[in-house]
């Protein structure tokens, strides 16, 4: 995929791209992420989690769906290994994200920093990088990506703290709004999922998840995720097979 031979970057252009990425972060993804992290902080406070662990989760997971799964399942008293498995599944999307984004950045000598930089990747910064990369010179993309990701990561921490500390000190009606941010954000982002099979998985996973929750609240996430997800994938697989045969 990389059409560029290894290039030696002049430091100047990396710095330039870094600043450009940071600036772009403030025009979009940083706000989206800050809102989500404020909501996460509020949720963690409502779930009775202590501040240091809440901030630790934001720093080391830096993935909102996983963070929320963690807090929600923990507040329900679910076994730690089940929580770990569920969080692990929500993080699989990072593989798709890195696999689509990284080939657009020329391979270079910054291999170690590349391993570091993917920790800062979030859905919001990924969306913006995917949108902006075609308009950016290939050798500037890495700096842009790092600048944007780093800014988002740095903003996540104070946002989480703000959400956590605000909850309990603001009137209850504001708390409602803070707690509503993330579930609503997920719902809205579902409208942008391109693959039909995944859209079916969302809707059926959601319905089955709610139904299972009424009977088996501690297992509902994993059962509906694995069960419905696998079923939808299998049906989609069979349909695609049939279609291929029909073409022949």
């Amino acid at each position: 995929m990389t059409d560029q031979t290894p290039t030696t970057y002049p430091n100047q252009s990396f710095k330039f791209a870094l600043l450009k990425g940071m600036k772009a972060a403030f025009l979009g993804p940083a706000f989206v992420l800050a809102g989500g992290m404020i909501g996460f902080g509020a949720m963690a406070h409502a779930a009775g989690m202590d501040l240091s662990l809440t901030l630790g989760i934001t720093i080391f997971l830096h993935a909102l769906p996983g963070q929320i799964v963690f807090v929600e399942m923990m507040s329900m008293g679910i076994a730690a290994s089940v929580i770990a498995l569920a969080v692990c599944f929500t993080a699989t999307r990072f593989l798709t994200m890195t696999l689509t984004l990284l080939p657009q950045i020329p391979q270079d000598r910054y291999m170690l920093s590349r391993f570091l930089s993917v920790h800062f990747l979030a859905m919001s910064s990924w969306t913006y990088c995917m949108r902006d990369f075609p308009k950016i010179e290939a050798e500037l993309r890495y700096g842009y990506f790092v600048g944007m990701g780093l800014t988002c990561w740095l903003i996540a921490l104070p946002s989480t703290a703000a959400g956590y500390l605000l909850t309990g000190h603001v009137p209850q009606w504001i708390t409602y709004g803070l707690l509503f941010i993330n579930p609503l954000f997920f719902l809205l982002s579902f409208t942008e999922v391109p693959i039909p099979a995944n859209r079916v998985a969302i809707v059926f996973g959601g319905i089955v998840g709610v139904l299972i929750h009424l009977v088996l609240p501690t297992q509902s996430l994993l059962i509906s995720g694995l069960g419905v997800g696998t079923l939808v994938w299998f049906i989609d697989f069979v349909i695609r097979r049939r279609r291929l045969k029909g073409q022949r």
């Binding site: 706000f31 809102g35 770990a84 209850q172 993330n182 996973g205 709610v210």
Partner: protein, 114 residues
Amino acid sequence: MTTEVFFQYGGWWAVLLVTAIATYFWRGLGVVLSGHVSQEGEIFRWLSAVTYALLGALAFRLLILPIGPLAEVSILFRLLACVMSLAVMLSKPGRLFPSLISGCGLVMAYGLFQ
């Protein structure tokens, strides 16, 4: 189970350590595999279907059967907020922020005028 024993002694920070490694695993794997695999394979399709079903279950449950303060907001208002927010979102591309604000605003208004 040995993992449960580990978590019992390590507490929630141990759970965070394991989940952080699991989350980073997928990011790091992307760096390693980048340019070497196609993401059209069946494993990728299966993983993304499972992820989306799980996220769907999470979002629907948080909205319909929330635990904590949000449960005090009437379900009708929560659903109304979702519908209104989705309508704003779908009315024109790139309206994430206004739709978030309108949905959260309605839920806050419920709390304020309750």
